[in-house]
Amino acid sequence: MINWSLRQLASALAHKQVSSVELTQTFLDRAQRYNRELNAFITLDPERTLAEARAADRRIAHGNTQPLTGIPVALKDIFCAQGWLTSCGSKMLHNFVAPYDANVVEKLKQAGAVTLGKTNMDEFAMGSSSESSHYGPVHNAWDLRAVAGGSSGGSAAAVAARLTPAALGTDTGGSIRQPASMSGISGIKPTYGVVSRYGMIAFASSLDQGGPMAKSAEDLALLLNVISGYDARDSTSLDRAAEDYTRDLDQSISGLRVGVPKEFFADGLDADVASAVQAGIAELEKLGCKLVEVTLPQTRLSVPAYYVLAPAEASSNLARYDGVRYGYRAPEYGDLRDMYMKTRAQGFGEEVKRRILIGTYVLSHGYYDAYYLQAQKVRRLIAQDFQSAFERCDLIVGPTAPSVAFDLGAKISDPVQMYLGDIYTIGVSLSGLPGMSIPCGFGQQKRPVGLQIVGNYFQEARMLNVAHQFQQATDWHTQMPAAFS
């Protein structure tokens, strides 16, 4: 049962072969048992979860089923869920019980899903390894000595170890795709504006986008159907007609032009990753895709542009944490100013403070034009690169990350090394394009490798089609770490 797809689970529930309570209990037991090793969850609340499962069973008994009725889904701890601790991996929100639901949480509930728990993550989603969490690092399900990737590392580890059928993550510069790659699962970041940011704790608002993480492209498509859609409460939500993201899954991909950017295979890509990704691309060719070499000349600049823009937006967004209305407040302080200074010094971790300081600096008087505006201009150049490439191809493929999961602690003291690891994902984020990662093999020490698929705006259904066809022809996505079977 732990390996069943969402369709299989929905069918078993609808035919009363299993109840939501039984199903949910199975995953809850696994989550509780394995969380000591993986640290994938910040909060498990079996009573609350089982109450939701019982309510789902009552709806099933009345024949009132929605696509996800009775199926447990885990939420990255960045999503507000009413009554749940929503810490965002930070001491600053260690006591923040969300007073309302995020838009995606409302949508999951309307679709009948059961909240399995809140997953661990880099503090405020700032990181690429899920090590900066106030609640300790997430461990990789394939190798406990390795990171799970980040920032949605808890969701990735939970899906990889089959502690939940599926999870939600968020992606600002690669935080769904990179942990999916390093944890051997599938994940998609939709076009910016497709999934509402309402109730998703803000990091860099012009980049933040929620998305599903699951075992297969088919499951991702079903989940994206549920969580996407216009929401007036998110000022950048796009008002467009609803799509069925499963509509093209079974289409042939023969004749599709697949672009391979040469910059994604240059210096800095590990040989083991390169060979697994090349094998994945060869598989697409076998399925009838035509390979086209494309160029994304500004790839290198995407890292510095991102590390100006994201911290700038973060420094503004995180100004709200002042110890007045919610969250942490320093126990001792003098005047109001001192209260702010101590609260923020104690409530934020090192990486978050570093990014706030970078952001404050690049936005400060005399530096705004040179850094912030210049980065926004480079951002447009990067987006234009992708548009030029898409004149020659339908989709772009390449590695998701330059290496397999690295050892815990290996990069934590060198932020620049950590940032450079985001090179293949952040250009996509800066451009607002949809991107996904699916498992395509294993590298050193049998750690998973992900194949990144990037589409033009609103091409999610085409990307999921390619991923699904790839997964019909390969079995990388059905493999799971032996220690958790």
Partner: protein, 95 residues
């Protein structure tokens, strides 16, 4: 561009984050690495390029000027560090 210890303390003040001298030294070393990376942007010719803040270049919507939120004061104040009689309490600001 090189960052000084004074810069770090100044931006920490702007960001309302208390830093000790020892922390400022440590932060300085790390920020220098990051700024060396960011510095690469200076060499790019962006003349005539418009800054980009949204992929679809959408303009922010305006909504009708109507009350849409209900009164959640009690629910919101239940999670505040210190409240009294419906007010958020902070150290005295006006003598």
């Amino acid at each position: 561009m090189s960052l000084s210890l004074l810069d770090v303390k100044r931006i920490a003040q702007l960001a309302s984050i208390e830093v000790t001298d020892a922390q400022a030294e440590q932060v300085l070393a790390q920020l220098q690495g990051v700024f060396a990376l960011i510095e690469e942007l200076q060499s790019v010719d962006t003349q005539g390029i418009e800054p980009m803040s949204h992929a679809q270049d959408v303009t922010l919507r305006l909504r009708e000027d109507q009350v849409t939120e209900t009164d959640n004061r009690e629910r919101f104040q239940a999670i505040a560090p210190r409240v009294d009689a419906g007010l958020y309490l902070v150290p005295k600001v006006i003598e």
